[in-house]
């Protein structure tokens, strides 16, 4: 390295050491410290974002997949429309109160047509508590 290059190196080093010194000197360190502490106080430690940021990439991918799967299942459920819950929720008595004798007879007939291996004969009707035999008794009472 010749003298010229050495001088150039020294000059570069000197300028680099000075670089930004004036700007740094103007920084109000106390104010900065207060501002940082205030900001740290405002955001609770261990937020979801910081938790996510600190997890390894494979765990983040797994979390995204689980969320996507859950969203997919929900969307699928919505696409198929609401579940037919009315039969299970509505009390049987309410259903029966509005039925005519003819409608009751049809209902009993339809129950009798259910294959025997499903135990339809005296089975509960939609979980309402009345069996086919009880319905027949109800029908007789309605018919007088």
């Amino acid at each position: 390295m010749n003298q010229d290059e050495q001088l150039q190196d020294a000059k570069l080093q000197e300028v680099a050491r000075r670089l930004g010194a004036a700007a740094a000197a103007r920084l109000d360190v106390e104010r900065t410290a207060r501002a940082v502490v205030t900001r740290l106080r405002q955001e609770p430690r261990g937020t979801v974002l910081s938790w996510v940021a600190m997890r390894p990439p494979w765990l983040k991918i797994a979390a995204v997949l689980v969320l996507a799967l859950g969203a997919g299942l929900m969307a699928r459920g919505a696409w198929r429309g609401p579940m037919p819950r009315a039969a299970a929720v509505v009390p049987l008595e309410d259903d029966l109160s509005g039925l005519t004798a003819e409608q009751l007879r049809e209902a009993i007939n339809s129950m009798d047509q259910v294959p025997a291996d499903e135990g339809a004969g005296d089975a509960d009707w939609g979980g309402g508590g009345l069996s086919a035999a009880e319905l027949r008794a109800l029908l007789r009472a309605l018919e007088g």
């Binding site: 000059k11 300028v15 050491r17 670089l19 700007a23 000197a25 920084l27």
Partner: protein
């Protein structure tokens, strides 16, 4: 003769970090006091404009405190902080570029108010040229150069902070110096 007063031990960065993690806010404030100026010098050297400097210093500390769980002591806290500052500055550039504006660092000769005006102007001119040259360097070369030439760090320390090898850091520095010499000639 009065007995000598015991000298209060200055807590290490590691002790302050542990205290902060245990809920001591003053430990965080002390870490800021200790490293804010070096960080500001690094950021200003890397091209942070005056108007953004305070925000960038704060943002860097916030990011650092959030990520303290990832700091394994592979290098000194200050070195780690400077690399976080470098990334925060890079993000600021990206944000500004997306918005269509451009960050123009203000030369120190326009900001300094003390000393001989002629000397100040000459020194400021060299600094401005160096700063412009730094802006044209690849990110890694710029960071290695500043950590070495401005902050006076060893290659081992620089390499640990930037996730590279000391040999690679030396090569980056060599390339940076070669290009920057032209700027301050």
């Amino acid at each position: 003769m009065t007995p000598a007063e015991p000298v209060a031990a200055v807590p290490t960065d590691a002790a302050l970090i542990a205290a902060w993690q245990g809920g001591d806010e003053q430990a965080a404030a002390e870490l800021v006091r200790r490293h804010a100026r070096a960080l500001a010098r690094f950021l200003a050297g890397a091209g942070a404009p005056d108007a953004e400097l305070d925000d960038l210093v704060q943002e860097t500390f916030i990011r650092a405190f959030r990520a303290l769980g990832k700091f394994r002591g592979q290098c000194r806290f200050r070195t780690w902080l400077l690399t976080i500052g470098g990334n925060a500055l890079k993000d600021t550039y990206r944000r500004v570029q997306r918005g269509g504006a451009r960050i123009v660092p203000l030369g120190d000769e326009l900001r300094a108010t003390d000393g001989d005006p002629h000397e100040r102007a000459v020194a400021g001119e060299a600094e401005t040229r160096l700063q412009e040259g730094l802006q044209r360097l690849p990110h890694m070369q710029r960071e290695v150069f500043l950590l070495r030439a401005q902050q006076g760090l060893e290659y081992d320390e620089i390499a640990a902070a930037l996730g590279t090898t000391p040999g690679a850091a030396r090569v980056h520095y060599h390339h940076a110096v070669k290009r920057l010499k032209e700027c301050v000639r």
